[in-house]
C-alpha cells in the first residue's frame, strides 16, 4: 500500500472513530467511558486520581468494611468497622469519637457527616481506572449525574476535609493529598467538561 493510501485510510478510520464516539451519549446511561485517547484529559484525569487514591480518601473507601488509618493505611484500631449503616456499631459509632471538626487535642480527625463511604463505593485495592469507572457508574455512585458527581468531588465538606486533615495523636500534621485543592478542583472540572474519559487499561 502506498504512503498516501495508508494516510487516507488512517484518516478515514480516525474520522469514523470520531463519528462513532460522538454518537455515544455522554451525559446519561450506565457507562460513560469512551474509547478514545486524549492526552489533555489524561493530565487532568491523573491529577484528580492522584488525589482520590491518596490515603486521605481511600482510607474511608475500604474494600473489607474496615476503615483504614494513617499513611501506612493500617486497619482502624479497636476493631472499628462499617457496622450496619456506615456509621460503625450501634453504641460505639463514628461520632463517639469523630466530630464535625478536627480535634487538635486528641488528634482525632473530624468533618461534617463523618462516616465510611458506602460499600458500593469501595476503592481500596482497585486501580485508578477501576475507581474512576466506579465513580461514573450510577449504580455505584449514589445515582449521581455527572454534574452532581462534580459537585460532590469539589464541594462536599467531607471530601474537602482531605486538604485540612488536622494533626494526629502525636500532634503531627497529616499529609494532605499530593495536589493542592484548587488545582484538583480545576482538574476535576476539566476532566468532566472534556467528557469524563477514562483511559484504557
Amino acid at each position: 500500500m502506498g504512503k498516501s493510501a495508508f494516510g487516507y485510510m488512517f484518516f478515514g478510520f480516525l474520522l469514523m472513530g470520531v463519528v462513532v464516539a460522538m454518537s455515544y451519549p455522554s451525559t446519561k446511561g450506565e457507562n460513560l467511558s469512551v474509547l478514545l485517547d486524549n492526552p489533555v484529559e489524561d493530565e487532568a484525569y491523573h491529577k484528580m486520581m492522584d488525589v482520590l487514591m491518596s490515603p486521605r480518601c481511600v482510607n474511608c473507601h475500604p474494600s473489607d468494611n474496615i476503615p483504614k488509618q494513617g499513611d501506612d493505611r493500617h486497619p482502624h484500631y479497636f476493631g472499628m468497622a462499617r457496622g450496619e449503616n456506615n456509621l460503625g456499631y450501634q453504641a460505639t459509632n463514628c461520632t463517639t469519637c469523630h466530630q464535625t471538626e478536627n480535634n487538635r487535642y486528641s488528634g482525632v480527625p473530624g468533618a461534617p457527616e463523618w462516616s465510611l463511604a458506602p460499600d458500593k463505593m469501595k476503592w481500596e485495592g482497585l486501580t485508578r481506572n477501576e475507581i474512576a469507572r466506579s465513580m461514573l457508574n450510577r449504580q455505584h455512585n449514589g445515582d449521581r449525574s455527572l454534574t452532581e458527581l462534580e459537585h460532590h468531588l469539589t464541594e462536599h465538606e467531607l471530601v474537602l476535609w482531605a486538604w485540612k486533615p488536622g494533626v494526629d495523636a502525636q500532634g503531627i500534621p497529616r499529609e494532605p493529598p499530593p495536589v493542592p485543592l484548587e488545582e484538583y478542583r480545576a482538574a476535576v472540572k476539566e476532566w468532566i467538561e472534556n467528557g469524563a474519559i477514562v483511559p484504557e487499561d
Binding site: 476493631g79 468497622a81 450501634q90 453504641a91 460505639t92 486528641s106 482525632v108 495523636a169
Partner: protein, 164 residues
Amino acid sequence: MKISFTINGTAQSIEIADENTPLLWVVRDILDLKGTKFGCGKAACGACTLHVGGEAVRSCSYAIKFVEGKEVTTIEGLGNEQNPHPVQQAWIEEVVPQCGYCQPGFMMATAALLNKVPNPTDEEIDQNIINVCRCATYYRMRKAIHKAAELQAVMNASTETQTS
C-alpha cells in the same frame, strides 16, 4: 464565650475562653465531677466516656462548643446508691471493679449499648465495648452486661405495668 447546657438534669452555664477545651476538662475541673476519667486524651482508652444526648461520646475528643443546648450525662447522673442504674447494680452484684479507674467509662458505654440493643449478644458486646481495662476485668464485665440487660428488662417491665 458562654456555653449553656444541661448536665445530669441540671441546667449549667459556663464562661470559657477556649471554646475548643475538651468537655472532659469542663466536667472534671470546672464542674468538679470527677467520675469521668482521663486515661489518654486521645480517644483511645474510653475512660472519658459519657453521654451527650443519650449517645456515648469520648469527652476528651469533644470540644465544649459542641455542647451548647445539649444534655450531658456522666456516671454521677447515671445512678446513685439510692437509685442505681441497672448497669451499676449489675456491676455491684458481679463485683466487677478492681482498681476501678476505667469502670465509669465502661458503665457509660454499656448503658449506651443497652439503650440501643437491650439484649446484646457476646459478639455485639465485643464490637461495642472497646474500652481498655488494664486490670483486665473483662470476664466479669461480660457477665455484668448480661445481668444488666436482665435487670433493665425487669425494670422496664415493671415500669410498663405501673404506667399501664
